[in-house]
Symmetry: C2
Subunit: 385 residues, 2 copies
């Protein structure tokens, strides 16, 4: 498996990161353009806060872990300055999107803007320990915790009381964010939080009967037989399983490691399109028609996160099933998502594997899953003996 | 063209309407099931208010215009009773969705629930003139007018002031609703409203330069170069053009008729997939990647509304281009959307015309576009000499 290492490293450092370095900075107003077409031309100038934050995180992380390239640090700090100046409303919550100049467009209805902002400033503090970065990160983290039970706040359209669902996305992201921010958090808080998020992911949202992770369950953890309750997102579940593997390493928890590997593999068997290859975006756990029209599309992040999971699972367990799947998903991913003509990868394929949006970045795709995935696989393969 | 008549009539009365009569009534709790799989089995029991209302409208309209079948009236009144009892919140706005028993699930964030409720009770009043129906319809209509400038109310996620967009959907639906409700409205109100909605559709949202109808424009009517501002939905625009044709007949406006026909044909040329056939769901008017992942799918309602437009346009103008296009769209629609094995039509095809959700009804597809389209084409062909 180790022979894959160079491909991941070279693609990251020789192609993907230079693409974002060259194409995304807004030298006039600060922050990053993320709406970039196949060749890297800007086709829209709006700034989506979570994508801004993810890019700050990415360049801070690379500076810390790959090499102290001053251009990477400048890149991270430029995005951070834009977020500091324009990102938050009066109560400190992060808007969802801004205009090119930083005027707020969409309210802070989406707590993932805050999650990635906390993660960004935490990573930046590691490489440039300014108190303001630390403060912004921990303040944001505490606001996230206080908004946990009602993350959409007044923007929720659900009538309270009839069918109170909770979503997998928040415990999942907290399981990663808590490790990312451990250097800034009180050890007691980490010790309190971690068992809770592991329990939510592995006991509450992981349905014991089917072995599948559900995207939404009732507040008491039970199954809700409705569109949202039946929804599964294999890529989301598999990504969460590599967060669980990281936690299993950090806290030396072999049982968690084994369950995360088994769950990830089971989800992959379930989500793999045996006819055309690739992993479905959404499936209804009872086999009914999913509500989402894009259910059978093949998305870049799903495949990159699956490669990270499989590399880590193989490195930790030596399980040949992980190796076999890694080879299969690697082959599909590199053949279908990587653009042979221009840098960065395609994001959106139809069921048959044909590119159906040729963009390299947009409203939902930025400098994150491709470079993080390449980095994580590279680093994991380095550890293989 | 008249030889198509029997096919539309027979499909409506011999297959589609019997399907909804047999499969959708909830004999226990009232209202209708709309989540019906390929064979007509219920796979979800939630009740989506606008689909409930559309079905009340459909059966009332058929009773008034096709034949006074008492089973059709019972069907309409059962749905109306469910909506009367459970549909509204304390201020009289219609929820978006309810559980099977009628408990509210999703708040009245979507004014189209109200639009279709007003339309439903107005049509029901025509065939069963109970004052309560009339009152509910006109009260709802006046609430819609008062919510016109801020239809999403507190559920809007847009930060006011930065980029105030208005959406094509509301003037479009009002152009139809005002005619539908004319028998209940003060003639002065109709005379006030109609020129305004025609102006919005044909001058404000119809972009003079490109000849295309935009889904969103700035409050002052100007183009906004962002994802929402560049968005076009050919089916939506073409549907609006047959509403304009109805208005042109009602108010004897030949200039409107000619512009509506020209705009509909231009939109169809623009929206037709010359490689695989069928009409795209969404396109970016500048040719950039659309935000919507389902942009290149082929949806049932788009094609049915286009057939209605083309039939009306041909009947009014005798223009051979309309005939030619009708034949082409008819062939695509009947070959791809009609299910040869079970009643009712498929709703969702991928770009290549393959069925990608086999449902006959769901959260967004109910007893509406297929039967209304079949009925409208049938009736229009009846008028051809």
């Amino acid at each position: 498996m180790k022979h894959y290492l160079q491909a991941y490293r070279n693609e990251l450092l020789g192609s993907v990161i230079p693409f974002w370095m060259e194409r995304s900075p807004d030298s006039v107003h600060g922050g990053y353009f993320t709406c970039l077409d196949q060749k890297g031309q800007v086709y829209d100038t709006d700034k989506f806060v979570w994508l801004q934050a993810r890019q700050v995180w990415m360049f801070s992380m690379l500076y810390a872990n790959v090499e102290p390239n001053p251009a990477w640090l400048r890149m991270a700090k430029d995005g951070a300055a834009f977020l500091e100046k324009h990102g938050r409303d009066a109560s400190g919550d992060f808007y969802f999107s801004l205009t090119q100049t930083g005027a707020p467009l969409v309210q802070p209805y989406n707590i993932f803007s805050d999650c990635f902002a906390a993660m960004a400033f935490s990573a930046l503090y590691k490489v440039d320990p300014q108190l303001a970065y630390r403060q912004l990160s921990t303040d944001t983290f505490h606001r996230i915790l206080s908004r946990r039970n009602n993350p959409k706040g007044t923007y929720s359209k659900t009538v309270p009381g009839t069918r109170n669902l909770k979503s997998f996305a928040l415990p999942m992201i907290l399981s990663n964010l808590t490790l990312e921010m451990e250097h800034l958090l009180d050890p007691g808080l980490v010790k309190d939080l971690v068992p809770g998020v592991i329990h939510e992911v592995m006991e509450v949202f992981l349905d014991a009967e089917s072995g599948l992770v559900l995207e939404n369950v009732l507040e008491d953890g039970s199954f809700s037989d409705c569109f949202e309750g039946r929804l599964t997102s294999p890529g989301h579940a598999i990504e969460a399983m590599w967060f669980m593997l990281d936690l299993s390493c950090r806290f030396d928890d072999e049982a968690l490691r084994d369950r995360a590997i088994a769950t990830g593999l089971k989800t992959l068997e379930y989500g793999w399109d045996t006819t055309y290859g690739g992993i479905y975006y959404f499936l209804d756990c009872k086999g009914h028609p999913p509500e989402k029209l894009e259910w059978n599309q093949k998305l870049w992040w799903v495949h990159l996160e699956t490669l990270v999971f499989l590399a880590k699972a193989y490195q930790l367990s030596g399980d040949k099933a992980c190796l076999h799947w890694f080879e299969k998903v690697h082959e599909y991913t590199w053949t279908h998502f990587r653009d042979p003509d221009y840098p960065e990868w395609f994001g959106y394929l139809d069921r048959y594997g044909r590119v159906q949006l040729s963009l390299k970045g947009g409203k939902w795709k930025g400098c994150f899953h491709v470079p993080r995935g390449l980095y994580q696989v590279w680093q994991t393969l380095e550890q293989l003996t």
